[in-house]
Amino acid sequence: MAEKEAERKRREKTLASLYDVYYDKIARYIFVRIGDQQEAEDLASEVFLKALGALDSYQERGLPMQAWLFKIAHNLVVDHLRKMSKRKAVSLDEVKAFDKANLEEVAESRLQVERLGSALKRLSPAQREVLGLRFFGGLTSIEAGRILGKSPGAVREMQRLALRSLRKALGEENRK
C-alpha cells in the first residue's frame, strides 16, 4: 500500500515537472485542432488536471507520460469539437495573433496565422491531428501512432499527404 502511494507521488511529481515543458506544446497542438487560442490554453490546463485524476490508470508501457498527455489532449479536443459542432462552427479566422510589440509585425503575423488557419481548414481532421502531434507536440511518428492507434508507417504516410495538402492550401491562400 505504501509502495502504491509512493508510486502515485512519484507520478504526480513527474506530471508537475512536465507541465512547464509541455504546456506550450499541448496548447499549440490543441490550437491546430480547434483554431481558438484562448480555448487551446484553457484546454491545455485541463489536460493536466485530467491526467492528475487518471494517474492511477497510467501505465508506462512504452508510452511516455508526455505522449499520454497528448492522448488526453486528443480526447479533450474530440469532446470539445463535438460540443462545438452543436453550437457553432469553429472559425480559425478568429485566431489571435502573436504577442509582439510591433504593430506591423502583429498585423503581418495575424495575416499569416489567418492564412495558415484557412489552409489547415482544407485538411482532413486526421491530417490536422498528425501535424499537431508531430510539429507542435514534438512527438515521434511511433508515439503519434500509439495515440492515433496507427502503425508508424501509416503515420508517416499521413504526414506526407498532410504536408502536400498543406503546401497546396498555403499556396492557394498566399495567392489570394
Binding site: 507541465y19 492528475l52 495558415l116 510539429f135 508517416r156 506526407r160 498543406l166
Partner: protein, 279 residues
C-alpha cells in the same frame, strides 16, 4: 519506394523538431532534395505561423489550478487515512473485551517414605494444575490458544533463563478457547513439584487463532514464550492454585493492516490451598 521516402521525410521532420535547419536536411538526402524541399518548407511555414506563444498568464493560472488540485488530493488522502484509522480503532469487534483466565494449579504434596521402620527419607512434592477461564464478548467468537511446555521456577536456583532451575509441570500441548471459559475454569494439567518457594512461571504459546465474524484468523505472537513473575508457595500435602487472569482487552491487538497480534497481558492470582490427595 514511397515507404523509403516517407521514412526520409520523417527523419528530416524529426531533425527539424530537434532544431536542425531545412537546408541541413536537404544536404543529407541530395537525391530526394527536390521532392523534400516543398514539404519541408511547408513544415517551416506551419511552425512559423502556427507556433503561437501561449500567454504566460494562462500558463501560470493553469499551473496554479494543478497545484491546488494536487494539494486537494493530498488532503483527501490524509483524511481518508485518518478515517480508516478511526474506524479501525473504534470498531467494536476490534476492541472486544476478551477476558480469559489461565489457572495454574500447583498441587504440591510431600510423600513420606514410611515403608521402612527406620529413618526413612522424606520426599516433598506438589501438583501443578493449569486452568483457563472467562471470556470476552462481541464479534470475536473464539480465541483458541495452544500452549506447550509449562514450567515453574524455584526460588534460589541460579539460572532462570535456561533449563536449570525450571521444573516442567506440563509437557504436552493443549488448546483451549478462552471465550468458552467465562465463569468456569479449565484444568490444563497438573503435576508434582517440590515444595518450596516459586517465583516464576513460563509456558510456550504455540499458536493463537482468533475467530472474527465467523472467520478464523491466525494471530501473530508477540513472543512464543509467556513468562510471568510472581511468587507462590507449594506446601507439603497441600495444593496451591495459581490463576493467570488474561486481560483480553489488552491481549488482542488489531492492527490497521488487518493483522491480529496476541500480546498477552496476564495477572497472576494465587489461591489457597486444598489438601493434597493422600497417595
Amino acid at each position: 519506394m514511397t515507404g523509403d521516402f516517407d521514412q526520409i521525410l520523417d527523419d528530416c521532420i524529426q531533425r527539424m523538431n530537434e532544431g536542425q535547419g531545412l537546408e541541413e536536411c536537404l544536404k543529407l538526402y541530395p537525391e530526394f532534395a527536390q521532392e523534400l524541399k516543398p514539404l519541408l518548407t511547408a513544415v517551416d511555414e506551419l511552425r512559423d505561423r502556427g507556433g503561437f506563444i501561449p500567454s504566460q498568464a494562462s500558463k501560470a493560472r493553469g499551473k496554479e489550478r494543478l497545484s491546488r488540485a494536487m494539494a486537494e488530493l493530498e488532503r483527501k488522502r490524509q483524511e481518508s487515512r485518518a478515517r480508516l484509522s478511526r474506524r479501525l480503532f473504534w470498531r467494536p469487534k476490534v476492541w472486544v473485551p476478551v477476558a480469559a483466565a489461565l489457572i495454574v494449579a500447583i498441587i504440591g504434596y510431600s510423600l513420606w517414605a514410611v515403608l521402612t521402620p527406620t529413618e526413612a527419607p522424606v520426599s516433598y512434592a506438589g501438583i501443578l494444575e493449569i486452568r483457563v477461564t472467562d471470556a470476552p464478548t462481541n464479534d470475536v467468537s473464539a480465541i483458541n490458544v495452544t500452549v506447550g511446555d509449562i514450567e515453574v521456577h524455584k526460588a534460589g536456583e541460579e539460572s532462570d533463563t535456561d533449563g536449570a532451575g525450571w521444573l516442567t509441570v506440563i509437557e504436552e500441548s493443549k488448546t483451549f478457547d478462552l471465550l468458552k471459559l467465562r465463569g468456569v475454569e479449565e484444568i490444563l494439567g497438573s503435576n508434582e513439584v517440590d515444595v518450596g518457594h516459586y517465583t516464576q512461571i513460563r509456558m510456550d504459546v504455540i499458536e493463537v487463532t482468533v475467530t472474527v465474524d465467523g472467520k478464523p484468523q491466525s494471530a501473530e505472537l508477540s513472543s512464543g514464550k509467556l513468562r510471568l513473575v510472581g511468587s507462590f508457595e507449594v506446601e507439603r500435602d497441600k495444593t496451591t492454585v495459581l490463576t493467570l487472569d488474561f486481560d483480553a482487552d489488552k491481549s488482542l491487538v488489531f492492527t490497521g493492516m488487518g493483522k491480529i497480534i496476541f500480546k498477552p497481558v496476564v495477572k497472576l492470582i494465587v489461591t489457597k490451598v486444598t489438601e493434597a490427595p493422600t497417595p
